[in-house]
Structure formats: C-alpha cells, structure tokens
Amino acid sequence: LVHIPMFTPSASSDEEDHNEAPTEAKRSKKGDAAVDDSNVLYHPVKLSRSDLYRPPTAEELNQLKEAESLFHCNLLKMQMEELLKEVALSERRKKLIDSFVQRVTKLLEAVPETAEVEISDLSWLSGSAKVPFLLLPQVTKGKFHMAPPSSVDPIGSYPLGTCIKPHVVVDLAVTIPANVLHPKDVVNQRYPRKRALYLAGLAQYLASFSDLGPMRYSCLHGNRLRPVLLLIPPGKDSRSSFTVRLHACPPPGFFKPSRFHPLRNNIRTEWYTGLQTSNSEGIEPPTPHYNSSILGDLLPKAHLQFLSAVSSQCPAFADGVALLKVWLRQRELHQGAGCFNGFLASMLLAYLLITHRISNTMTAYQLLRNSLNFLASTDLTVNGVSVAKDPDSSAPSLAEFHSAFQVVFVDPSGHLNMCADMTACTYKQLQHEASVSMQFWDDPTVDGFYSLLMTPKPMIRTSDHVFQLCELVKLQSSCKKLNLLSELMDHSGDYIHTTLPLILSLLQQGLGQRIQLLTHSLCPDPEWSVSNEPPKYKTQPPISFGLLLRPELATSVLERGPPADSPKAAEFRQLWGSRSELRRFQDGAITEAVLWEGESMCQKRLIPKQIITHVLKLHADIPESCLRYVGATVDDVIKKGSEVPSTGEEESLVVVQAFDDLSRKLWALEDLPLSITSVQGAHPALRYTQVFPPVPLKLDFSYFDREKKSKSLVPSKDKPCPGIRWSDSVLAVICHMEGSGKWPHDRFAIRHIRAAFHIRMGELLKKHHNYSYKPCPTHLDVWKDGLAFRIQVAYHREPQVLRESLTAEGMLVVRDNEEAQALEMATIHKPLLTSTLHGLQQQNPCFGAVCRLAKRWLAAQLFSDDITEDTADLLVASLFLQPAPFTPPGSPQVGFLRFLCLLSTFDWRNNPLVVNLNNQLTGTDYTEIKNAFMASRESLPVMFIATPKDTKQSMWTKRAPSIQMLQRVMVVAAESLKVLELQLMDGTQIQDVRVVLRPPLDAYDALIHMNTNQVPLLCHAVDPPGVNFKRGVITGNAKASSGVLPVIDYNPVSLYLTELRDAFGDLALFFCDPFGGTVIAVLWKPKAFIKAPFKTSQASARSVEVTGDEAKTFPNVSAILEDFRILGKGLVKSVEAKTEKWSF
C-alpha cells in the first residue's frame, strides 16, 4: 500500500500563504532538504537608471552580443554552464583520487611472482579470490604465472578530463608483463583466461590490504571475456566516492593487429565443442566479436593518446563530451552491453573534429548540437565511418566490417570496430533520440534545456508498449532452433547476446509497419564479489523491449500479405506459419493474410502482443510463459464489460453519434421564434474523456415510484438508489440562438425568455421525434435512445448584460463578476474546450483513454474536486501537444505514467504550463505569457495553465487546487509513479496496479461511511463489491426512445456532498471518490479551530465560551458530527471520528 504522510494540519488552511514553493515536497523526497529555498523568490529585476544607462565597455558589449547571437536565449548558455558545474569533479575529489591511484600503483608494483603452472591448474589461488571467468570448455593449453605488472597507467575518461559525476570511475591499465603471455595466446581463449587469472592474482594480493576497501569483479560493457577488478575506496560519505577499475592488458603491440581481422577465426570448433568434427576441411567460421574483444585490450593507451591530442586542440572538448554524456545517460544509453558509452562519445567528437565537421573554436553547446546533428543524419548501420586517417594495408575495409558487425565505427588504428557489440536497434534508438532532440532544440516553445539534458527517459515512460523476456535460460534452446553454433562460439557461450540480434530482427519483421522503433534494454554489467564464482548467464535480469507504435497502424487486425501467386508469398507464409491463410478481399484480390483477434479497442491495442508471442514461439522456441507483456496492464482500472472488455472507446463513440444525431435534429427544428446558430457539446463524454461513458440502458418501470400529476418516474424510498451509469452523465449541450433585437436587455427577462425556448424546443422534439423531455428554467432534459441530454439555450450577449450596471450618475459601467464568468465558462469556454479536445482525440486515438486513466486516478485518490475534469483533460492534452523530450504517447499506459510524472515534477511555482491547443501560440506568445506570469506570480492561481484563449488568468484552475492540495497531489503522484513503475518493470513484485488507486485514509480527521445501496456508481468502485443491487435497469438494447423520462441527475452522494460543503465548507474539507466511493473523508481546517472572538458573521456551527467579558467561539464538533448523520439520513451508515486533536 502507498503510505504517504498527510500534509501537516497547520498548513492546510492558510490558503493565502503562497510563499511555500510547491517544489518543496519534491525536493524533500530527494533527501537534500538541507537547503531551505522557501526564501528564494523571484523578484522582478529593478536596475537603477545609472546602472541601465551607463556607457557600455567594449567587453560588455561583446558579451551581450555573443549571448544574443549564439544562443537564442542566453538563459540556455547559462543553464549549460551551471549544469557543467554540477557534474564536474571537484578539486578535492581529484586529490583523493590521485592519492588513491598512486597508492594502488605502488602496491601493484610489488606483486609477488609465483611459479609457472598450467592454465587449468588453479591451486596457486587461495579461496579469497576466484577466477572471474566462466571456464567453458574447461581445459585449454598454456602456462601461467604471476609477475609484477610492467606498468600501471591511468586510461579512459579520468586522464582525459571528461569524467563526470555521479558514478565516477577511474580506469587503470595494468600491463601484463610479456613473459607471462605467448604470441599464440589469442587462440582458443588462452589470452582471456590468462588475463582473468592475472586479475585473480591481483585480487588475491590486494585483498591483504584491508584499507583499500571492498573489491568486486565486473566486466567491461557486459562482455564476459573482459573481466575487470573494481576497487571501491572506503569513504565516509558517498558524495566523494569513486571506483577504480583495473584492466589487465597485454603490452602494446604484443599481438599483431592483423590477427584480429573480423573475418579470421581464433577459436577452433574442435576445441570449443570437444568433438572431432567431420567437416575438418579447415573452413572455420570467423570470430569477429571474440577478435575485437582482445583487440580492444591492446589499444586503450593509443586511444588515450589520440584523444588527448585532439582535445588539446579544442578547448571545449571536455565540456562537450560531458554534455553528450549527460544526454546519453538521461536516455539510458550510457552503460551495459552494446552501449554508446563516454568513450564512444569522445571518439565521435574527435571524429567530427578531425574531419572538420566542427571547428576547434566552437563552444560546448555547439559541439553537442553538431554531434547530435551528425547522429541524427548518419546511419552507421549502413555507412560506417572510420577515425583512422591512413590505416595500414592490413586493416580491414569498411565493407568487411559491415559484413561482420551491425554498427561500424572504426578506431584510429583502423583495425577495431568500436561499436562491435552494439545492435542495430540500439543505434536506431540513438539516431531517433538525436533527431527528436534536434526537432525540439530550436523550438522556442519548448524549454530545450530541460527536455535535452534534465529529463530522464526510462524505457517504461518512453516506449508505448514494453515487454520483458524472463527466464533467459530458455534462449539456449532458441540458439539451437536458430542454428547459431558458430555465433555462440564467437560470443564464447553468451547465448543471450548471440540470439538478441536475431530476436530483434524477427520482431522487426513481425511488427513491420506497426512500430516506429524497437528498442531494448542494455544488459547491465554484472558485479560480484571476488570471493564468489562469476554469475551464470541465466542469472541476468530480464531483457526489456520497448515498442514505439504507429497509432494509425498498430491496432489493425489484418496483416495483408502478397497475392497468392507472387513469389513473396512463400516468404510471408514462412514468417507467419500456420496463421497465414488465403483470403479473398472486397476488391477481388486473393492474398495471403493473417487475421488477429480483437473486437474492442482495448483488445486491438494488444495485437502487437499476439504478434510477438506468435513469432517468438514459432521461430525462436520461446514459450509464452517467458514473455511479460506490460503494454496495457494499467488499463484494467477502467476496463468494463464482461463479454467484450472495453476501456470506453466504443461507448464514447455511441454517445458522440447520439449527440451528432440530436444536433442534426435540433438544427432541423423549424418552428422556433429565432434560429439556432450553434449546437455544441459541453461534456467530457462528448470529447471521449469521460471516465465511464454512459451506456444506453433499458428501464425496469416497476422499480420506480411515480409522481402523481405528471406520472414521471421518481426514485423510491425503500429501494437502492437507481441508476448505474447515467446518474452522473447528463450530457450537457449548449445551444446558441441567433442575436436579435427581440432579445431583451435585462438579465431577468433573458432568463425567462430562455425558459420559454426550453419549453418550445421540448415540445417540438416531442412532436417530431417523440423524445420525452423535462423543461426547467435553466435547461431542458431530453431522453433520447437511452441517453439523457441536457440542452441549455444560450444568448451570446448575456454575459455582457450581466456585467453591465448603472451607477448613480447614470453612467453605464462594465464590471466583471462571478455570475458572468460562470456563464461564459458554461456557454463559451466549455463547449470550445470540448470541441478542441474532440479534435485532439481524432489525431491521437489514445488521448481519451489517457484522460480516463488520469481522471480515474485523481478520483480514486480523492482529488477530483481539486483537479477538475477540465483541468485534468488539459494536463493530458499538454502531454500530447508538447511531448518533448518524448514522442506523443501511443498507449494509454505510457500516457498515464507521463501524466503522473508531469504532476509530480512540474515546477508550478516558477513556470506556467502552456497548453498550445490547435498550435495557435507562437514563440513570442510564450515569452509574453511567461513574463506576465513572472510579473504577477503571487496573485495568480498556484497551478497556472495557459491556453490560447486564456493566456493571463488560468481560468480552469482559478478555484482549485489550493497550494496545500497541490503539494499533496504532487507527493501522491510521485509515490504512485514510483510504485507503478517498479511494479511494471519488475515481475517479482506483487502485480496489482490498483494499489495506486487506494487512498491512504488514516490521515483524515473523520470518515463518513455510506450505505452501499445508496451509492449509484458502486459498480465502478476501485474494488467493486461482490454483491450488487438491482437498480431498475434491464439488460438489453435500448433503442426505443419513447416512454417516460427516467430518473436523471439524482445522485444522493453528490447531493449530500453539496449540503455538507454548503453548511461546513469553512470548517472542513470533504473528499470523496465520485466513482463508487463509499467513504467521505473529512479534514478539519486548522484555522477554523483556533478560538475566535464572537462575531455575528462567524457564528455558524460554533459554540461559545465566556471568560470574563470576552466571548470566544469554536466549532461545536459533537453537534457537527451529529449533523453529518442527520443531513445524510438514509445514506450515512456511520460516522467515524479518527482524531482527537480538535477536541480541546
């Protein structure tokens, strides 16, 4: 369960107290609450005249000009400088590192020599250190002995100056003396084993020095052939910690590089399998990956020299690499097997520098920009590049590299492919990320810095669907199925990375046009203690795959193949196996085709799952049980329907169609005194975002009482409250009438004229279409096809009339007032929002579902009164309109996760959220909004949402939330996000997504429990009860629109809440889940519980206490609790007072 501390009572009622930054909650979560930032406030800059107008110096002028021309905003320049300061290593830490490295170097020089033994003889190792190598096959030839290293040199990012926080790693190359090795050792893993033995020897030796701290083994970029020894110096605080990584290397030039040509073989099949193979004609398969892993050991010093030479030419090199590394890290591409690590980043910049694509004088900002541009535009999977200027003749050609590897980026020597382990998918992901970054970089409407460098992009929040391969041991059998023996040999038995490229290409083929991008998680480098055996491959955590869907194609049930007689048909049949069948289509063509199951939208969304399961089972022998598909797990909470589960798309469509029909019929009405100018919907269901859209229902007439005169249906006293799905769903329709001189210019007269219209309209609808109706002064209820519509006639000048008043002097003044605003909201803004969001749904098919999930969560956490439906829809819309650094959500789940992330991380204190509906706002508008916002921050709503029609006021969030509620929403959202992501990405957790929908109730002061039979939407509850009540509904189709009007808009819970808030609104806050919640949580306002002097305006529900001649009042709690029961007679089951803090 989610346990979240409730905000302190002292904070909950100071609604005016805006001084607390809402970010505080977020920061304290991070754990660095040491800095109190609540005092740091933005004040508009006031420069004195003499400061502003003093004559500029040349230097200042230059600085100002540079900032103006180089960066579209010098804010970005400064932001990057600040970021670099944050990640740079401090001098103090550098000193610590240097002294530690020195000590280790000194110790290593004194490693004692041992006698020469066979490689397989491990008796010289005591138990304190094991060999960090999976010895398969067990035996290989060769002799080994320990000897002091011929040299110990720092390599990699630290000496280069590109090392950044956190996880500071300092690499040390320990050169194995030449007499330990033999030039023939490259064959049959002899050298890798010797290297592992050497590391074990070092570990055993270093273990005797306890002040070095704990030692662990790991392996470089997940490659088991290249173990490393990690030294973690014992530090008092984790902030100054770092890791020293010892690499054992052969002496430079010990092996001839030409031996490692990607087409050469260095592992003999006979040795590897232990069998006398029959085809011993001498054609051995090439072992490119094995070769490059050894070659990689040979070159680090040369690489360092090369990079230092390049970086000394370019002053911003180190900063550029640092920025690129931060960028990669936020995208989870920086570590693991086949990653694009910091070394590759430096090499990339070096490549761009020596090919003169960037110049030496560029700034870090430009370096980052140009390298991203290069990545976005260059496909290294097809056209590899080489840093080597003039490679020797023995170096392989690029074509040879391409034949052996998926991604080609050749090092300065011309022999090594630095991207040997990278899969094509990873590179495509890199390319995709770079091009997305380039797209929003120049967009003035996006905060480029945050999207580029500050926002983490974990897979679960980036990819639309995610699935995991668990039980990786099963991949062994797919190795066999796919006939990958020689590749397995090349990868030295790492069956995971052997099969991964093939699985990826299978998935790519199967999913085809349905996806934009297929990504996979990079296996993290395993780490284990030196006294343990290395972990087996099967203990690796599951591999996650991410799909970025093409929304328009991903849900298609049909996979149409080539015509039966085309040569491609065989290929198609081979891919799909028995699922492929010949089908005849309407256009007469007979083609191969695969038809997937799926009726409703929520089933269709899972078609990629069907495909993946089928393809992997058929071709790779991976059973369905190994797959953990988390594409639509969260959707469960809004899923309804027993036969065909649905998440509301189909129901919404029915509602919208019914509305369209009604609107057509209204337009066609002829006998109205004035003509209709517009018919607009103003209800969430009419923009596909109603959490549980209304369903046309048939009535059980005997269930209701009858009103005496009109014979209308009314709810019965003794039966459970009627209505499962319509009580909350009266669909508001705003009907504007033409302006005319006939309209009176008086507020009361307009009100009456509208009533007359309602009557007339109802009569006409009854006459022509036989709809039952109920006219009221404010609206007209119409019962059509099992759905209830509430038509409200509007006159466009009415708000103006409400604003006008005459002063005593006869001057006509226009003053804004609440009544006019409320009317404008209902008749202008809401319909407009509804139609705009309806349009957004047409472009993004899952927009509605994300809204439904978001609103279900808000309601369940009892926030629906603070973050209203319209606000929530706008928040979700912003995720689609401004997705940077992501792409627009392609599944409800990922949209929901990003919604939670937005809620929990957005800095509402300092930023307006601009929702650019219909793309109407330009960059200058954004600046204007931001400036206006900053200038009058204190008087604006805490949650400020600007839309094209409303740039100054944030009308949707004017009333709520308060600062305290917003803080609480942020905390709960952060916690929910954490719990949910952990659950989704980790199959070992308890799998129950409803956990995030169960609010913690222990923080409230009183709970009002309600009788379940009077709660109309009980069946929508988070945990629906087993028993259900008959509620006057018959299952069956309700097309007949005739008959009497059912009970509309009768919801005891909301009526009760209104009464409670009317009576006790200034003493307490009331929270309830509108979708089947059976508890109302009450929170006293602490301010109301301070004893106050007796005033006639503040005597409600208070009792008085007299001391001397002073009368003080305080809330009469026992009477109030009793009033809760009295006001809700028949609905309230019990009132539970939870705390005693209010009883003085």
Binding site: V45, L47, L75, V814, S1100, V1106
Partner: protein
Amino acid sequence: MASSKRKHGSGQTCVIPGGFSVLSLKFSSDSAASHSLYVKEHRVRAQSHSGRPMDRTLFVLNVPPYCPENVVKELFSQFGSVQSVELKDHPSSSPDSGPRLSKIFRPAEKQGFKVGYIVFQNASSVSAVKSHAFDVPLVVQTKERPVKTGVQKWIQQYTESFIPKEKLQKDVDDFMMDYDKRKEKAEEQQRKEAEEQQEEEEGWVKVTRGHKGTKARPHSEVANKKTLQKEMKKKKRKELMNFYTWQHKNTQKEHIAELRKKFEEDKQRIALLRAQRKFRPY
C-alpha cells in the same frame, strides 16, 4: 463545550457578552449533542426596512440547515404567535431588490447555517425568547412535526423539480408582461423628458437639472476610454521619431539597456534555479 454554560446554573438564561442570549437546539429529543442559537432583539441605526419592526423582531444566529422557515416559525410559536420568518445567509439590512421572481426562477439557495429575522405579533414574545432557559433545548423534530432530511428530502426535491409545462409557461408570460409594462413606462418617461427639451413655441429651451447632461459626456465607460485613446493617437501621429540625432542615440541606449536588463533577469532566474538545485541532472 458545556463547561462555560454550566456556570450559569440550571434553569437559567445564558447571556454572553455582546448581548446575545444562548438557546440550545436539538434535532430530536434523543439527540446527544446540541447546537446553540444566539438570539437578540433586532436593532439597526436607521429604520430602513419596514418588514422588520425593531421592537417585535428577533435576530437569530446559527440556524442549522435542517430548519427551513416553516420549522423555525413553529419552533418559536411557543413564545407567541409569529408573524413572519426570514432566513438569510448573512446578516443583511436590506431585503431583496429587483423585480419579483417566481420561486422556480430564483437561483438555488445555499443550504448552510442561516441567520434569521423572526417578527412576532407582540413585542413581549421577544423578551420571552431571550429569557428562555439554556438547558431546556428546542427540539426540531417531534412526532407531530417530522422533518425530512437525507434521502427522503432529496427524493422530495427531485419530485418537486417536475414543473408542469403550463405553469412554467404561465410564469414566463406573466413576467414578460410585467417587463413589457415596465419598459413601456420607462420609455414614456424618456419621451416626456425629450419633449421637455424641445424648443417651446417661443424658441426657449427649458433647462433642468438632473441626468440630462448625458448628452455632453459619453454615458458609458467604454466610450469614455475610446475618446481618450483617440486623442492619444492624434498626439502620437504628430510626433517625429528618430529624426534628431539625440533621438537616434536614445533608441540605441534603450536597446543596450534592454539587453542588460534581460541579462540581469536571466542571471537572477538562474540564481533562483540554482538555489533550488535545478541543475542536477539526476
């Protein structure tokens, strides 16, 4: 809660500073807790409203939401016959203004605690109320007088929300007739005034005081603003920009000042963000 009142002993009235007497009120006889009503004779400086004669009107605070006007009337009938009861959200001196609306056209009322003005037939009733003992509570619901709350009340409300179409139409028609009449009257008056302004036979114009000066100045705020703006525009059009050297210099100076200001603003924004540790990427 009760501690303060116990001081006054049983069977006594409880008067608190400020001149209010405290009465207790229970929903039903078996209720455990009770509300306190604060009552006082109605007293205002200016007799503005004839509906509330000062000597006979009782001012009541803290009337619970389940006591509508008819219940209050019956509750206080034990002190003498009640002429009228008026319940308000806040203490207010003036009654409703504007034209009389039928009940269904009035906006929904807030269902909270109310302030009441009870007008008795006799002035003596007021003092009878004030001297009512604190520990004898008034009881809202008795067997003879059931008060509907909760589900029963809501069902009743729902039932009442069905307004016969004919009644609704009649209300509308009545109001509009009334409105038309009022409008006609107003027009009549205007016409009269206009006539008075007309020249008399001998060519004299009668000058009267009052709001006929409206012709001289615009009679709405918007029009007022418009004329002002027009004049400003006129002024601006006549001015020459970037004509003299000093003007040109000034614009350049302004430009640099603006750059400087923006730079300073950005710096401050950064300082703010740094203080909030907004630059730590992970």
